[in-house]
Point group: C2
Chain length 201, copies 2
Amino acid sequence: MILRGEVLPGERLNELALSRRLSISRSTLREAVRGLQQGGLLEIIPNRGVLVRQVSVKDALDLYDLRAALFRGAARLAARRALPEYKIRLKHLNDRMTEAAAAGRFTDYYAYNLEFHATVLTAGGNAPMALAYDQAVKGLHLFRRRSLVHPAQLDLSLREHESLLTAIAAHDVAAAGEVAERHIMLGRDRMLDTLDGSIPA
Amino acid sequence: MILRGEVLPGERLNELALSRRLSISRSTLREAVRGLQQGGLLEIIPNRGVLVRQVSVKDALDLYDLRAALFRGAARLAARRALPEYKIRLKHLNDRMTEAAAAGRFTDYYAYNLEFHATVLTAGGNAPMALAYDQAVKGLHLFRRRSLVHPAQLDLSLREHESLLTAIAAHDVAAAGEVAERHIMLGRDRMLDTLDGSIPA
DNA sequence: TCAGCAAAGATTGTCGACAATTCGGGAATG
DNA sequence: CATTCCCGAATTGTCGACAATCTTTGCTGA
């Protein structure tokens, strides 16, 4: 519900109402809520209730830095192992993204993009790292309901993916790490650019 | 209790007994447990109960890789900002560690070491990154009750800290990142070495 | 008109009980 | 003697209720 935007950041959750809506008891709901808090999606203020986490610009920038560090690490691991199945899968996903971009299907592009990144994490074979990355991405989701995709930047992004999968396939640990890190940081810059045109929160 | 070793990895927690021991109700305990699960300290098997997480050698190696990626990221951020207060603090902590090492007070050394690393994370000014790092360290705690400190390796570790704080103080982002990453990975190697002498789990 | 206070209402924190599921042991069978 | 089935005990999952706390509303007085 949070990631789908059915409850908005900053909104306060009424436990009784929500438990009724989900047809579960308050105890069960509260258990779930405690888990989500640790995951960073909710903020709990004692005796005041739970809020959907507000992600400020500063928070979002932090999450980008965190993502960059994790993505670099995962890309290095993926390049070290360089398992064939993931090479194929990454190539496949990037092809799909290229198609989607050419056809103007930005929603598909966005979904494939997420999956491409997730696959790099999987290819790294480090579950805790993948989990931390997921949490960061989820936090970023809360920042703005999907930051706009600028068509002019898609080509660049696709080329970055291309370099990354080439480096991984070539067992080039250092290159994979650098490309991966730069890719996220460029995404960070793009986010900042699109933000300049709107209200800085 | 988990970090203090009062409940051992793999052990199954009896909710009723534990709630009585802590003088709280089962509901309250369960809420806390759900939070700890997300933090990675507990594993919950539906209808079978909660177990203290078992950390295998593979898991520990993963956590070291994760720590390395995060520590590198934080060191780079710390070097970028290079706030004077943290330079002083890091210097102070490393001096204390040197003293403790010379006097053979290994428990103190260990505590200062943890604090030194935590301070680097704080100096980076990235809260989500610090949180992820903390979780990884906690997971590592579960691996072996404090991996033995080999006196011969203390000097090396201290010199690494020295290089790190020098690089941070000098605003040298790249050097700080490299030193930080190598420091954790050397710790990983040390862990593997001490492991060879015992039973590989 | 507005600040301060008090009572009423709403919401969260905690609890114990009941239902559902799993675990352990003993009897029956091949 | 080993194996399977079944029953009772133990443990987890879910629930609704009560207590504690906070928020809102209305009143009083300056």
